[in-house]
Amino acid sequence: MTVGEWVRNTSVYRSVIRHGIAPTNRNRSLIIFENLFLHVHPVKVREKTLRFTHTFWLGGITLATTIILVATGILLMFYYHPSVPQAYRDMKELQYVVDNGVFLRNLHRWAAHLMVFSAFLHMLRVFYHRAYRPPRQFNWVVGVVLLLLTLLLSYTGYLLPWDQLAFWGVSVGTNMAKQAPLVGERVRFFLLGGNIVSENALLRFYVLHCVVLPVALLLLISVHIWRVRKDGGVQGPPDDERRTP
C-alpha cells in the first residue's frame, strides 16, 4: 500500500471523499456525481465528443481564460486603487516594486485578449456545426449575451491602467455610445459619471469590472454549461446530411 492509498483510506479523508480507492467503474462514477463541480458532467460521455475536432475545445479554452482572469484579477486588486493619479502609479508599482507584478499584469492582459478571441471562435464553431439547433436555441442566446459581457469586461478593464492608451481608447468608445438616439447622451453620462472620462468614470468602470460584470458572467456561465448537459451534451459537426450535388 502506497502512502497515497493509506491517506485516501483514512477516516478523515473518507469523511470528505466518501467513495473508496478501488479502480472500479462504480468509484469512477462517484467521483463525478458526488462532486458539486464535476457533476455538470454525466458519468459517461459519448466517445466521439472527446475528439479534438468535435469542439476544438474552444468553449473550454474560454472557460480556462476566465479562471485565470479571476485568479490574476483578484491578485491585481490587492495592488490597485481606482483613483487618479494613484491608479497609474500602481501600474508603476507593479512594474518596479511588486514581486512578479509585471508577470501578473501581463498574464491578465493576454488572458483577456485570448478570452475575447476564443469566445468569438467558439461562437463561429457552434454556428458552422449548426449546434444552435433545437433543443439548444436558448443556450445560443445565452452565449451571445456571454460574448457581449466578455467584450464589456475587456472594455471596462481597458480604462483601469489610466494611461494615454486607456483614456483615449475609452473616450473613442464612449463617444460612439453618445450617438444612440434619445438615450445616447444619458447612457454615456450614466456610464462615465460625468460628461468626460474622469475620476468618476474610473471608479464606475472599476466597480463594473471587478463586481457587477464578473458576477453576471459567472452566473451566466453556470447557466450556459448546465444547459449544455441538459440539452444533451456538446454538439459536434452535424453528421446527418448528404452534401454533394
Partner: protein, 233 residues
Amino acid sequence: MTTPIEIIDSEDPLANPWRVALVRPDGRPAVHETDERYVMTFPHLILREIIMFQIVVIALSLAAILFNAPLESIANPVETPNPAKAPWYFLGLQELLHYFPPVVAGVVLPGLVGICLVVIPYWRVNLEGAPLWATPSRWKAPTIAASVILLSILFVAFRCWPIVIPTVIIGVAMFAASWARAGSRWQWLWGVTLPEWIMTWFVVIAVVLTVIGTFFRGPGWMWVWPWMDAPRG
C-alpha cells in the same frame, strides 16, 4: 380461504372497460437506437480537461514572460494622441465610423449584428441545413443576385470598399457554387448553406475592417502601410 375472483359479464363500461387503443408490436414509439460508444467521464474527459487547462496556463505564462502589456504615459485629457484608437476588438466599428454617419456606424450596424446573432436559432432557414442550391426555385437566383447587387450599390454609395469587395466576392462565389459538380474538388462549395454564406460574409468583413483599423490607419485615420514608418502624431 380467499374469495374467488368474480367475473362480471356486462355491457356497463365501468364494470367491463372497453379497449380504446391497441399498441401493435410494429407500432411502438420509435426509440432511436445508436451503437455509439460511451466512456467513463473520469478519467477520459476529466484528464483531457486538466491537460487543456494546463496548456492554456503554460501558453499564456510564456506570452506573459515574453511580451509586456503596453503602458504609455499617464492619461492626459488635453493631449489627444493621433490617431486615438479603441481596443482591437472595436477597431472594426471605429473603421466603420470612417465611412458612415456616427449613428449608423455606432448604433444601427452593431445593433443589427446583435439582433441577427440572437435570432439565428429561431429562424427556420438556419435549422434546415440544406445546401443553397439543393432546392431549385425560379426565384432563388434572381433574389440572391438582386440582394448582392443592391448591397454592393448601397456600400459603394458610402465609398466603403472594405465591405463592397467582400460582398462582390461572396456573391460571385455563391453562384460559382451552383456549377460545382459532384466529384470535383469544388464539391464542398456546393454544400454551403445560405446561413453559412451570410455568416462567412459577416466574418470576412469583420476581419477585414478590424485588420485595416488595427494596422493600416495612421494619424487623422489616413491610410498607412504598417511596414513603413508612419509619421507619429
